[in-house]
Symmetry: C2
Subunit: 245 residues, 2 copies
């Protein structure tokens, strides 16, 4: 989405600009933030924050994906949205909440940069481009949450699985995902058997192939055909919001 301009190969394979939000900042802003950005591994299943917990850091994923979900009293949960290299986890901080009733965990392991809450608040309150970037991202997030909610109401598990796979591919940059059906199921808030069935259908159609904790996408257009409109809407809207800036 954001073309990363050619630059001298860095010694570490990790750079803050791998995150599109950070990449969208002015060079001077990013330079000022850089010393405060701490590269952290995000491990499978790691809990980033729990409902009601005070947020100490915000996270800018690069290769990892963080899932925001609400856990119901019954124990079942539902993903609200996921955040990868296209966003930041912890918007409640600058929106004036400090905390939220939802949880954040890591379904796809990788890395990300974290930043102290205090620093982010300062930057946000300074106004300017950083504020605009963060607000615009929040708007995109709202669109995704909206669409997920509507999708929950009307679309089949197979369609939702396609949507989830496509969004996850976009964020991971790889065509192989390391994740079990069990975890996908709890992420989407459906039964594991439902995912087994839907994934089997996709595999028989030749669009994916999977083995014990690994899913390979063989034919992406096939997934797009079988997905509901929700993927395209989110994709389009997110792209649109990055246009002028």
């Amino acid at each position: 989405m954001n073309s990363l301009s050619p630059s001298p190969a860095p010694s570490s394979p990790h750079r803050p600009s791998q995150n599109h939000l950070l990449a969208a900042l002015a060079a001077e802003d990013l330079a000022r933030l850089a010393p405060q950005l701490e590269l952290v591994p995000l491990r499978l299943g790691q809990v980033i924050y729990q409902p009601g917990e005070h947020l100490r850091h915000v996270y800018f994923p690069t290769t990892a994906i963080i899932s925001l979900h609400y856990v119901m009293a019954s124990g079942s949960s539902a993903e609200i949205t996921a955040v990868g290299n296209d966003g930041v986890v912890g918007i409640a901080l600058f929106m004036g909440g400090d905390t939220t009733p939802s949880s954040a965990t890591v379904p796809i392991a990788g890395h990300g940069y974290r930043l102290e809450s205090r620093v982010l608040k300062q930057e946000f309150n300074g106004g300017g481009l950083i504020q605009r970037v963060l607000l615009r991202y929040t708007q995109a997030l709202m669109t995704q949450v909206t669409q997920t909610g509507a999708c929950n109401r009307h679309h089949s598990i197979a369609q939702q699985l396609c949507r989830w796979l496509l969004l996850t591919l976009d964020r991971s940059g790889s065509d192989e995902l390391v994740i079990t059906q069990e975890l996908i199921a709890s992420t989407l808030g459906v039964r594991r058997e439902g995912i087994t069935e839907a994934a089997g259908k996709l595999q028989r159609a030749g669009h994916i192939s999977y083995r014990r904790g690994h899913i390979s996408v063989l034919h992406r257009p096939g997934l797009e055909t079988m997905a509901c409109e929700c993927y395209a809407v989110v994709r389009k809207e997110v792209d649109r919001l990055w246009q002028p800036l």
Copy 2:
């Protein structure tokens, strides 16, 4: 939620401060805005905005309720959230979007104040209390959208109807709603017959009574018992966000 301080009875029964967001502004801010606030009737079924449309005004409902919903390709729709005297319609404006993929219509008629987009943007960009109020409201909205999405996934029609009724009561200030089952159904994105069944259940339990387009709530605690947790979560979170300010 916001105790309206005693004041000399105005000649018109309508005042901007009936909307909690406007009431939360500093007196001088509200005084500056007042001449630009246009009182408008919001009629049943009126379309406030359509997906992709450029927003010309933002709306601060007082007695009306505006429903934000997404209409799918299939024609079926799902309510994302509703806005009454507790909020404002058109947050995309100051979030940097100018438009959204969702629709806004009026399921409960009444009145509201509208304000030109340009004016709101100016005020928002001025920072200060207005900005903080609007951002905090957006955060509350996100919570509601989140909860609605999770509710769509896991809860029964009857539970969702209870949630919807309770939230609508809170916003309308009356214990009688003028709305048909048909409209509730399309708002929630379920079949009309599903609402008939759920409403019948509530009526037999003695919690509501209804006749052709009118619903009276007889026993609110009963609704709270039958509602899912979602109502309480939203209520609590919205209240929390108004605390310190």
